[in-house]
Symmetry: D2
Subunit: 395 residues, 4 copies
Amino acid sequence: MTTSDSEKRTGIWLIGARGSVATTAIAGAAALRDRLIPPTGCVTESPELLDEGMPGFDDLVFAGHDITETPLPKRAEQLEVAGILPRGVRELVHTDLAATDQRIRRGVAPEEAGHDQLETAERLIEQLCSFRELYGLSRVVVINVAATEAHPPARSEHTGLEELEHGLRRSDPDGGTVLPPSSLYAYAALRAGCPYADFTPSTGVRLPALDELAARRGVPYAGSDGKTGETLVKSALLPMFSSRALHVHSWSGTNLLGGGDGRNLADPDNVTSKTTSKQRAVHESLGYPVDGEVHIDYVSALGEWKTAWDHISFEGFLGNRMTMQFTWQGCDSALAAPLVLDLARLLARAHERGHSGPLPQLGFFFKDPVASDEHRLVAQFETLRTFVRRLREEQ
Amino acid sequence: MTTSDSEKRTGIWLIGARGSVATTAIAGAAALRDRLIPPTGCVTESPELLDEGMPGFDDLVFAGHDITETPLPKRAEQLEVAGILPRGVRELVHTDLAATDQRIRRGVAPEEAGHDQLETAERLIEQLCSFRELYGLSRVVVINVAATEAHPPARSEHTGLEELEHGLRRSDPDGGTVLPPSSLYAYAALRAGCPYADFTPSTGVRLPALDELAARRGVPYAGSDGKTGETLVKSALLPMFSSRALHVHSWSGTNLLGGGDGRNLADPDNVTSKTTSKQRAVHESLGYPVDGEVHIDYVSALGEWKTAWDHISFEGFLGNRMTMQFTWQGCDSALAAPLVLDLARLLARAHERGHSGPLPQLGFFFKDPVASDEHRLVAQFETLRTFVRRLREEQ
Amino acid sequence: MTTSDSEKRTGIWLIGARGSVATTAIAGAAALRDRLIPPTGCVTESPELLDEGMPGFDDLVFAGHDITETPLPKRAEQLEVAGILPRGVRELVHTDLAATDQRIRRGVAPEEAGHDQLETAERLIEQLCSFRELYGLSRVVVINVAATEAHPPARSEHTGLEELEHGLRRSDPDGGTVLPPSSLYAYAALRAGCPYADFTPSTGVRLPALDELAARRGVPYAGSDGKTGETLVKSALLPMFSSRALHVHSWSGTNLLGGGDGRNLADPDNVTSKTTSKQRAVHESLGYPVDGEVHIDYVSALGEWKTAWDHISFEGFLGNRMTMQFTWQGCDSALAAPLVLDLARLLARAHERGHSGPLPQLGFFFKDPVASDEHRLVAQFETLRTFVRRLREEQ
Amino acid sequence: MTTSDSEKRTGIWLIGARGSVATTAIAGAAALRDRLIPPTGCVTESPELLDEGMPGFDDLVFAGHDITETPLPKRAEQLEVAGILPRGVRELVHTDLAATDQRIRRGVAPEEAGHDQLETAERLIEQLCSFRELYGLSRVVVINVAATEAHPPARSEHTGLEELEHGLRRSDPDGGTVLPPSSLYAYAALRAGCPYADFTPSTGVRLPALDELAARRGVPYAGSDGKTGETLVKSALLPMFSSRALHVHSWSGTNLLGGGDGRNLADPDNVTSKTTSKQRAVHESLGYPVDGEVHIDYVSALGEWKTAWDHISFEGFLGNRMTMQFTWQGCDSALAAPLVLDLARLLARAHERGHSGPLPQLGFFFKDPVASDEHRLVAQFETLRTFVRRLREEQ
């Protein structure tokens, strides 16, 4: 291996490393490396975004945290039965899955979230650093693909880094928790100098205290909530209504989800994080309030699949009322997994090039983009393209 | 009236002036002038495209050609019954409709299309010039909103202006027709120095001979086929698939149309013009062939309304097959009419600023844009915005 | 007027007499009487159910209760603007609406529901009897088309007539209410010897105490919850799945409603009555539990219209998973109004023929039929047809 | 094996024995026999239709004709890849598939259809009789599941048995064909004393001459065109509109099909058989003409799956226009295969009980039922239930 190659060896540390998205991403990366599959759905492989300077699929080493015990090869079998992972692929990447599974460490259990958060954070940091050193990685990108958490109540410790570190150090007088698990992972990642992305709507890195930490440590971060289905379509359709001066009266949506994600979102607390993030695009893109609710229902029969129905009522010339409806029948893991790979490659490259703090240029990937209120997909893609061109040119 | 005002008085000459789109546009323009309705659906009134230099709604004078005899006030009553035109509006703009109806001249009947085309053209030119002079108009914009024609066979006369004018002068040896009616109107408009737009998929101005004439006469033109429904949605969705590297396998569409447009398109010859124009965006945007047919059915029960159903089958990561479907239930006249006003204002302004020949900058409005293969709606809107800003700045 | 005619003069007393359904029914009945419209949507006018012995449209006299003050002619204008009532019809039945409005009495206000229920009941009975006598009506049918109530808690007074009348007589020790308004109306109707139907899912007549009263007074009753949209389609589709031995895994539904009905159902308490009633058909028809939620959202932009989307996931041979989806875009008032007329005619006729107690034969009309667990629409129609034939033959 | 068992051993001879439907039926019957799968989709196993006297799944012996060479085990692998046949099932029934494949004989090739039809028929008859004798079968039921043919022109030979047999005997003077292949198979089946069913819309047994033959030979027949998707839904929904006196203005349908069936139906001649059969239910059920076209498009990306979209525009009370739409996403082979088994069992049983000629009682299974104009699914199911009860009681 040449020096230049070794410089590119990049770790991808997944929070929720044994979930559907992570398993699909890990299996898919191995399949791409071995050219078993074409890079469909992987935007950093499209001619417009290709950058030789990004880590290649043979430069990636996976690891992560999880609180479940089902090993990756077993999860891959389940995904094969569900029709997500072709049998041939699964069999050929079995060794990679088994090896990666050895590198998965026990995550932050809900019951330990409440006490000793600094101690927990130190453990996480130590695990990230060991991984980086042991495999001689130039850097490790941490991406949260774990189940969606409820949004925690606001706390004074969130407002600045000093307050936060002070708060983590002492035990909470009320027995409450200073940071939700997602933010504890983000804190650890930034402290360890790892670029970080929230692929879920959980709080994660989106606290002023963590923004301050990212700036101080010189690491870039991105988020939140990967845009893989209904909201992806929204961000494609919204500019149509606004640029044509059509007035949207209502935008209603029902999402039917099977799988673990559906079951988790059946909890009303967790679903609020999600529906809030889903409606952000509508209000911000149109600039006026729009009627309509968003429902997320758990329908176990759908397995790993998701069906969304959206109903849009709008008004045209002379007050004429019209309707658009769409249904989206997709497999969330298959839509999310390649974007996780894209984000890891882009964050690694941005870190290498010296970017730090929030990366609004990656808004293309997210329902609720950090530091940006641009939701038009085409405009987000142009921004991303320009960003990648500059990363390339800076070389 | 001040001199500067008189400079802005602009004629809009509609081919098909007694059809649904024309009637809605004429009634709507009067209602906008009198502030009876908000400018919903009218893009040149949106803050991003506003240009004080464009003719205002009180600067517009309507006239046109048609081969039907039903007067505009009667057509407006029919549109009221169909639910397109609110009763209050129709009653208040009755005088405008009646006055405009007096300015409608008999169009080119199918039976006269075949012989004496030069003589017919001279008549059309004379009518356009009289209108301009009689009302002291700074210019007249001609827009074709007549029923879709079948595409004519290619002829050598179409290839250059000299060949064309030679051909029009002599009677056709085979008894055939040198120009289809839409192109004869376009020829007359350009000869009369009038900016011209094809709002239908008929041939119209899109012949090399007419392009040459437009350049020689210094008049701008635009087209073809107003993007008001299914194709509008396509142009919003296509970039989603391409920018996300999702592979579209098939894109099938069924359009159910009532009204005159539906009946006309029930003729298989005419519908071919339309379906060809509708599928152009898919192939050009994606850059690879895509399965799927487009049907246009006449369903009289739908009246002035249209329902489109599109089914898109696509592939994501690891070969996973997914589906998106949408339905669009719109009123074509209400969607098209404000765009006709927009086009007239933009072409008038572009002509004033000295633009001539094809205007790809107006691709935003069309299914089958002249001199452009950009179909992404957001990109087309950016181009239009830049164009309007330049028109404004050149002042 | 001949004796035989006078025998047929029938009163229709509507609870919620100034609502959309009532206004449409009253205007529609006048229009049918004057042959201004065909009897589309009116099943008692179809050849299979025609019975000369039923009261004709010129035999009907309308009256009712309401707690709103907007007069019927004004409500009719609102329905004209909403596109439900054609202008011509509204103008021609204006006199009928104005005359009926004079016969509408103030209903039971929510604030008076709690105290003096027997006194209130006596007032309602008196109003019904006066109406019957004043207009020389052979009978008065009472139909509840008022807004849906929340289901009240079970009480011991509901279990028998004696307990109920004892409870109504004394003031409630806990300050609670013995009967919800809908049941108070039903109690008064039965006491007055009037056939009664619940067109809403409110409790109404469905209490053992009231069933006892109906039997004692010899009056028939029917209900509950008119089947006009999504559930109508369900009752047509469910037998398809069961008779074909296809296993339904999930049946999810989202209902978007504008108008007063939508606003009322936006209250979570009221909506529970409705969603419970809507899901009854699925479980009872299939005989096994089925996943899936039903949502009812208020979307004001939809006005008097309703859109339902249902998603059904089912399994066929060899475990193959398939999907059916439907959307229903209907106008509830226009669907409900003719059924209200049908029910009134059928109940009048059944009463004349001596039927009393619950009429399961009218299950065809209801989401939640009394005394029946048959939900298959075709089977319900056969039962209704047989019932009407017998009514005819008994003559 | 006891005598009574041996009396039940029944042959199922499939025309098109190597197609998707046949392969699924043969594999499924073996899986049912070995209790590897539940009888989902198999109506003769539902409690309401169970008849101990029908042949059981361990009494069935499969054979058939085909003109393709791909052996059944290979076809089963293709169906596994397509997701129709679970891997476990396919592996466990491999032996059955291989054994059945040995019993498949070469069918009537298109090129031999034109000449020596009597000679061909004698060959087919001989094959059917050998099969019956060799396996000691009490009877053989022949079912046509081959690709849809174009409808042949009417010929005088079709009008009576004598004319037909005379015509088959001599060579055609015009070089044309007396019988299309499907009818030649039907002729052979009836001559061999085998009950026969057309599961496709091809002409098959539906000629007066063959009806005469069935009567003379005392064998029952059924058909045509298995009702497995869009038309199944139609036959469930049509009674809803008619029993509610709602006036259907238009019923439009688009069917997207992959697989061999889709490719075959892309031929305009063949598709006409199909679309005619599909629209029959609408006109006959409603009793008045209804607007709307039916499209069948071949979309290879859909594989063995089918998506239908139907749009129904209807009118309710006071002329209100409403809309229902549905989509059906099904797997035709999985829907058809269990019905093929049902038909075979029912025809065998009916034959045993002495029924002959057309069986309108089996209309439940067909788009275009013989000797019946009842299309209401629930009514058809009642008829079938009564028929099965009588078969049972006659014992």
